[in-house]
Amino acid sequence: MNMELSRRAFLRTSGAGLAGSTLGAFGFGEAEAAVAAYVKPFHLANTVEARNTCTYCSVACGIIIFSKGDLRKGEKADIVHIEGDADHPTNRGTLCPKGAALKDIVKSETRLTQPMVRKPGSDKFEPIAWDAALDKIARAMKDDRDANFIAKNKDGVTVNRWLTTGFLAASATTNETAFATYKVVRSTGMLGFDNQARV
């Protein structure tokens, strides 16, 4: 990610209209020695930045995720703050009330953290291992497909469709996830396949 380039280019462009504004002109000289605990310390120092895109609407504002720990070094990364990316041409660092609180959805108390199953008639979710959950799903799909697959219609035309299983795809996943999903779902002959665009 070419951060340096974008920063430079942007300043060149945005500075064109107005005389150099902003904090350089505030009368702060060179950074001076730290002073006693008067001003609260800046809590982004020593964090790791990642460029990302807001997960909500399709304005697709540029965001910066600040974390403790560096994923690129194979470390665990704990997100401490998210704010707008001033280099981004569309949002110029701004965010709406949802975007400004993005950290809250990443760290929501209602995030799911392990596979769960709710058995027929039960009033609760119970943990299930990933393998067991996936085996169960694949088996259910195969059984249903084998039982209900329509190879030919009543006129004898090959139609190879499967109508008793459906799939709703996400609206905030990446293109790459979407394509993997497309391949897997379409290859089964499923037709009840849609996404949020239908709404």
Partner: protein, 812 residues
């Protein structure tokens, strides 16, 4: 969007109608405030509520929900009557001069060919007259009585300012004020942009709402120009991408269609996709359909897709109905015809109409699989939450498997914004607990299915066992591999047929654009419109150079925009017939005598002479369409149809109920309130609030602070009439269900007078449910009717009828 968010800065006039950009897209709306501050642009807002967009508008007018077509055709009529037409543009760049076949007619709200029983048209007469030369007949003088222009003029004549007031409830003088503001944009040096969203799509005639504005924009000459366009403000961060990649029941990636069962073989399928030009010299770019299709099939099935087996045509399922859309699937669920259902990051129990019907459908499934980063109501539809979700838990036999997935902050890849920019992002945090990516989950499901079919055999295993899955780690395909696959690559060395020593493509290399796609199986590409996004030069979507020469707002070096990195589509139309910009101050591209050059990637062959080739290169006409031929189910022109639930009968066609070709399932008819039903006297509408995103942010503490509890909005007049107090509880009910909410009594909603009758509006924000940090509440879909748009089945969430009374609140 035809244009981009950053292009809105170039406009003179913004009309927000069918949306609420300030509320739903605040950071995109920034460019409206920029146009206002720097260009003196004006903002018009037309909406049933004086909303957050209206709070900074120059002019606001109220309108009754579901009457937009009357307003829009009223504007077209006014522009024609007052000669506010950009004539040179309209004559050359639209199909105004095309002559329509004899036999086409419109009367009493219906076009020729209507079959009441089937609720469908025979659309054969909705076509051009074809001349002996095989091309459509045109009359450039616009004198022919059956030329599109004269048919349009005739069609819109009924929508006078008085009629607009009668149907929409918009005071005539307000309508006229807006018409005058808009009329100014017929000048080649003034432009208007239309920003719309679900306020237009979520109607039984949503597609025609949008056509109404598109037609107006065409006759004003506002398509293809900087600061103009039809700008659909998409909802979710990658709803555009999911649409592009065709995750819809009837689509293939890149806006190709899944075959229908009448297209029994590939030859039949492709025969109707030749897209022969309807006028001489036109590009009719869909003539390349076969290249895109074959390359897609090579990407899906690799070596198993051959010329001999028609590129594995049989592997694709064939449709027997136009759509297995979500409404149809829930109808089938209710009838017990669906056994398994997957919800990947999707909460349909909240997101589709008539919640009671949805819950009934889900309870008839054998298995429901949820893949989501968050708890959802759908995953817990069987849980009893008293009045908020009165499920009979023990009787629900559906097994639910809930799989935890990563979210944006933990994954890598591209998302497509509303302006078609594909932007790459990088992860910044570790996933919580055992959460996994969706791509990993899909791979796991596929590999298990493939293994079972290999071992056990079963129903038609071929497309599953032959699915091209040649990823480095088949258990977990990487974003890079998938992105490259969608872009497309050469499968073998390809040589120039005229010069066999000249290698055009090298095996294994990424294609630089869709122009290199081939229909002979030598190229593969998953989504042709994304060609150019990951080339031999690298990941174009990750580009972050935000320079913008001459401040046009194009940002050509930032990310990648489909198609071909083009930022404003139809941009050839920004220049006149000689290739000179209509507005020199807003130059986009121009003809330099030998080629097209400028700030954007030209949307035309670089050497196509201005006089020869029309700007709308995807259309066989080469022009924009005021008359859309057979391509829409409900008519070649929009018509005002009332919502299925409405306070008044259709003034212009009293016998027509709703959209006459919208699909309605038998049981749902019974759940519609009759026209003017005194039990449901108030016009309900549903919408979003800026503090929340659908049903997600109620899981966030901060957003739940900003808007903690469900409310409905009504006028002071209605509150007085019903004895409702500000901040008090109300009960709101439709023929399908009831909700309890706090009353926001506001001056921002005023009663409307429609066809002589007072109509009160009840506004219902959508965001509440029984999961999350915010207070428990009722989603708006408890109230809304189960019917969709006639063309694409988007539900009619924006217009329905309700009743309201003061209440003491829900009893848990």
């Amino acid at each position: 969007m035809t244009n981009s968010w950053t292009d809105i800065r170039n406009t003179d006039l913004v009309i927000i109608m069918g949306g609420n950009a300030a509320e739903a897209h605040p950071c995109g709306f920034k460019w409206v405030t920029e146009a206002k501050a720097n260009r003196g642009a004006k903002l018009i807002v037309v909406d049933p509520r004086f909303n957050r967009s209206a709070s900074v508008a120059d002019y606001y007018a109220p309108i009754r929900q579901g009457s937009d077509i009357a307003f829009l055709l009223g504007l077209i009529n006014w522009c024609i009557q007052h000669d506010k037409v950009q004539w040179a543009y309209t004559k050359a760049f639209t199909n105004a001069s095309f002559v329509v076949k004899e036999g086409f007619a419109y009367q009493d709200g219906l076009f020729t060919g209507y079959d009441e029983e089937k609720r469908d048209y025979n659309r054969d007469s909705w076509e051009y007259e074809i001349g002996p030369d095989g091309y459509a007949v045109v009359d450039e003088t616009l004198q022919h009585p059956r030329c599109v222009w004269n048919l349009l003029k005739q069609h819109v004549a009924v929508y006078t300012p008085e009629m607009v007031e009668r149907i929409c409830g918009t005071p005539k003088e307000k309508f006229l004020h807006i018409a005058e503001m808009i009329g100014e944009c017929s000048s080649p040096t003034k432009t208007m942009t239309s920003m719309y969203a679900l306020g237009w799509t979520q109607h039984s005639k949503g597609s025609q709402n949008i056509r109404g504005m598109a037609m107006l924009q065409l006759i004003l000459g506002n398509i293809g120009v900087r600061g103009g366009g039809m700008n659909a403000l998409r909802g979710h961060s990658n709803i555009q991408g999911l649409t592009d990649i065709g995750l819809l029941s009837n689509m293939l990636p890149g806006y190709l269609n899944l075959p229908i069962e009448k297209e029994a073989d590939f030859a039949t399928y492709i025969s109707t996709r030749g897209f022969k030009p309807l006028r001489p010299n036109q590009m009719s770019y869909w003539q390349n359909y076969k290249k895109f299709f074959v390359s897609f099939m090579k990407s899906m099935y690799g070596d198993a897709a051959t010329a001999q087996n028609d590129w594995a045509y049989d592997y694709l399922p064939k449709l027997d109905v136009p759509n297995y859309d979500i409404l149809r699937m829930f109808e089938r669920m209710k009838k017990g015809e669906v056994n398994l259902y997957f919800c990947q990051g999707f909460n349909p129990l909240q997101a589709f109409p008539n919640r009671a019907k949805l819950a009934e459908g889900l309870s008839k499934l054998k298995m429901l699989v949820i893949m989501d980063p968050l708890q959802t109501e759908t995953a817990r539809f069987w849980e009893n939450h008293g009045v908020f979700n009165n499920a009979n838990t023990a009787s629900i036999k559906t097994e639910v498997i809930q799989l935890p997935t990563t979210c944006f902050a933990e994954d890598e890849g591209s998302l497509v914004n509303s302006g078609r920019w594909l932007q790459w992002h990088w992860p910044g945090g570790s996933p919580p607990g055992e959460a996994r990516t969706d791509a990993w989950i899909m791979a796991q499901i596929h590999l298990r299915l493939k293994e079972m079919y290999r071992k056990e055999g079963g129903a038609f295993p071929d497309p599953i066992v032959n699915l091209n899955w040649s990823y480095k780690n088949p258990e977990d395909p990487s974003p890079e591999e998938l992105a490259k696959e969608m872009n497309g690559s050469a499968l073998v060395d390809v040589f120039d047929p005229n010069d066999p020593t000249k290698k055009i493509l090298e095996a294994g290399k990424q294609l630089s654009g869709f122009g290199l796609y081939r229909d002979d199986g030598t190229t593969a590409g998953g989504c042709w419109i994304y060609a150019g996004s990951w080339t031999e030069a690298g990941n174009m979507m990750a580009r972050r150079d935000n320079s913008d020469p001459d401040d046009t707002g194009a940002y050509l070096k930032w990310s990648f925009a489909w198609p071909a990195n083009r930022r404003i589509i139809y941009n050839r139309a920004s220049a006149d017939l000689d290739g000179k910009p209509w507005d020199p101050s807003r130059k986009l591209i121009e003809w330099d005598g030998t080629k097209w050059t400028g700030y954007d990637v030209p949307d035309i062959a670089p050497n196509a002479k201005p006089g020869d080739v029309g700007p709308f290169i995807m259309n066989p006409e080469g022009t924009g369409r005021l008359f859309v031929r057979k391509m829409m189910r409900d008519g070649p022109f929009p018509v005002h149809y009332e919502p299925f639930e409405s306070p008044v009968a259709n003034v212009i066609a009293p016998k027509v109920r709703g959209n006459p070709v919208a699909r309605v399932f038998a049981d749902d008819w019974k759940q519609f309130a009759d026209i003017g039903d005194p039990n449901f006297p108030y016009a309900g509408t549903s919408y979003r609030l800026t503090e929340h995103f659908h049903y997600w942010t109620k899981n966030n503490h901060v957003n739940s602070v900003l808007q903690p509890q469900q409310f409905v909005e009504i006028s002071e007049e209605l509150a007085r009439e019903k004895g409702i107090v500000k901040g008090g509880w109300v009960r709101v009910w439709s023929k399908r269900g009831e909700i309890f909410a706090i009353a926001v009594v506001t001056k921002r909603i005023k009663p409307l007078t429609v066809d002589g009758k007072t109509v009160h509006v009840v506004g219902v924000p959508i965001h509440w449910g029984f999961v999350g940090a915010a207070r428990k509440g009722f989603p708006a879909n408890v109230l809304t009717p189960f019917v969709g748009d006639a063309n694409i089945e988007t539900p009619e969430f924006k217009a329905f009828m309700v009743n309201i009374e003061p209440s003491t609140g829900p009893v848990a």
